[in-house]
């Protein structure tokens, strides 16, 4: 019955749209042309990314391809993170298992329905990979999948992200094209810039609204040096 009503509404809406003044034909917007015309930005992407991300209250730890596991282990022990959650079978999973105390490291194995109480109440931090980052704004590109659920970077109070500098893109537009987003959209793609925040009370900025209160980015400087 609701399907019928919806179909009726659909027909009525389309009939009204067709009855409208014929649209003035419009050229396809030249998005690429706009970005090509922007002045070149000085400096390298990694430096710019780190600066911008810090501007959004993300903590950026610059490290090396060899050094990041130790840096992560140090972070976990310094902050006394008792329950750290990560996705199994990711590119970083083996390294995590090797450097983090097995007592502290837990895998996101269950589906959310049964995992909810633990996830909402007991997890101290979620560790995720990233598909890349955006230098212009200091944003992470997250590409959740069967291994790394969406809530891994959302519900725990601390989100730790591993970002390889070689995957940085200058702009969101460049990232969409270089990484071929449109051809293979997953159920969820995210840009994350800093910890969650709000200025809803008297315009006063507060970090830690509903999402993570803190964001730590391990920026792995693996890019080819010029």
């Amino acid at each position: 019955m609701s399907a019928q009503a919806s179909q009726r509404a659909r027909s009525a809406i389309f009939a009204r749209l067709r009855d409208a003044d014929a649209p003035v034909p419009h050229a396809v917007p030249d998005v690429q042309g706009y970005y090509d015309g922007l002045p070149a930005t000085p400096g390298d992407d990694a430096t710019r990314f780190a600066e911008r991300a810090r501007g959004w209250q993300a903590e950026v730890i610059e490290t090396t391809p060899e050094g990041w596991p130790a840096a992560l282990a140090a972070l976990v022990s310094e902050r006394r993170l008792r329950r750290v959650l990560a996705g199994r079978d990711t590119a970083i999973a083996d390294t995590l298992a090797a450097v983090l105390p097995s007592m502290d490291l837990h895998w996101y194995d269950e589906s959310l329905e049964t995992f909810k109480p633990t996830l909402f109440n007991e997890v101290d931090a979620g560790i995720t990979t990233t598909l890349g980052g955006i230098a212009e704004t200091g944003s992470l590109i997250l590409w959740p999948d069967v291994r790394e659920p969406r809530t891994l970077s959302l519900v725990p109070p601390l989100h730790i992200a591993i970002l390889r500098a070689s995957t940085l893109q200058p702009t969101l537009h460049a990232a969409m094209h270089a990484q071929g987003w449109a051809a293979a959209m997953p159920t969820n793609v995210l840009l994350v810039t800093g910890p969650s925040k709000t200025a809803d009370i008297q315009r006063l900025l507060v970090y830690g609204a509903h999402g993570p209160k803190q964001l730590v980015i391990l920026l792995v400087r693996d890019e080819a040096m010029p």
Binding site: S2, R150, T187, Q202, G208, G211
Partner: protein, 492 residues
Amino acid sequence: MSAVRPVADPLAFKDNARIVVADPVLRRSFRGAMDFLTDKRAAQFPDVAGFNRLRALGESIRQYALANLPQLLGQLEERLAERGVHVHWAENAEDANRLFLEIAQRHDAKLMVKGKSMVSEEIELNHRMAEHGIDCVETDMGEYILQLDHDRPSHIIMPAIHKTKEDVARIFAEHIPGAGYTEDVNELIAIGRRALRDKFATAKIGVSGVNFLVAETGSIVLVENEGNGRLSTTVPDVHIAITGIEKVIAKLEHVAPLFTLLTRSATGQAVTTYLNVISGPRREGEKDGPREQHLILLDNGRTQAYREERFRATLQCIRCGACMNHCPVYARVGGLSYGTTYPGPIGAIISPHLMNLESTRDLPTASSLCGACGEVCPVGIPIPDLLMRLREAARHDEPVAQQRKALKGQGGARRMLEVAAWKGWRLVYANSRIYRLVTWLATRCRRLLPGRQAGWTGTRVALRPAPRSLRERLAQRRPTPIPMDDTSKPAA
């Protein structure tokens, strides 16, 4: 805020405005917030040429989308269906609420968590669901505060700007068990976070609005800072998104410039914390995400704005709120005075289509036509022109020149006295004998005009004709040459 609140009725606009203008606390809140937002926006667009280039692109993307609206809606529907999203169509608020109710009843849901959505305000979702015993909880901090206080949003981006932290402290202490009274903003946000966490974890249905719909990929794009939008669209079993049919854009790459324009224009930020691109419910093997996803596409008068080229640009809007931040009228009368879901200049140009021109007839006049709104609009909507067209339509029962069909409530501001006055004016000015007679009478009887003139003398001095008409004065003066020290001569 004073005890008398503006009422949710655009016909009460003038009375509402009087209440707000007389309230110094409220005025300070708005003034402060508007100055803050306009400064932050200005810092994001340091050079005018750069802004104009980006705006031209944004305008072209939105115009391209509207020029192809039927095809894009068809394409969107197809892509979403392929991804397993249920697409529903609603002609009006009643249709949309029925859809919500049916989905809720099918899942036996008693609790919905809702991310910020102006369209859900437009259909008054919370109230309609409450009538059926379904609790629809706002999770955006600002909206949550308002819901607890039974108040309405006064701004489309910062809904609770009319509340001070003392207000929030009182509201939380009163309504959240165990909250206690604190004016510490960090503490207040922590209280809100705790109170809502439980709701996220237990609600069966999550509701959200939409910032952009991408036809190419069948994606729902949400822009936010708090993370409540992500939680509402990820944790509950069912996700229902609702938006207007005009939100669709053709390509995924169109999101990039529009996102930049939106965040910079809205809050003066280069980016928000989250850009959330959702393309379908949980897939095989995934451990979270909703199992069922719905999109409700609402008309509710948008096709009327679409019908004629001269009103169509209204639908280019990306709801950034910049026009209200820069509006001298909005900054003084505040968002609640308008009595509509969308206040300020955008509200004045869209509400007549969503409601009707009769009940919203005062809104297009709530502008000094200074042009600030049109100047800052990131998608180039000629807001002052649209205001003028609506004013014209409100004063004529029949479609005016270049208008094909009457709008709902066309001629809603037409008053017989005003019509008669203009007829009289024409009569007098078209005939020199009558004109002279009338001016002679007016100048001779000027003292008979009352000191109080309805509508005019409330804020101005009384109108009184000069003792002699210009024509008479010139006739008297003609024999003598104009003395050199005459003050009426133009300055050198």
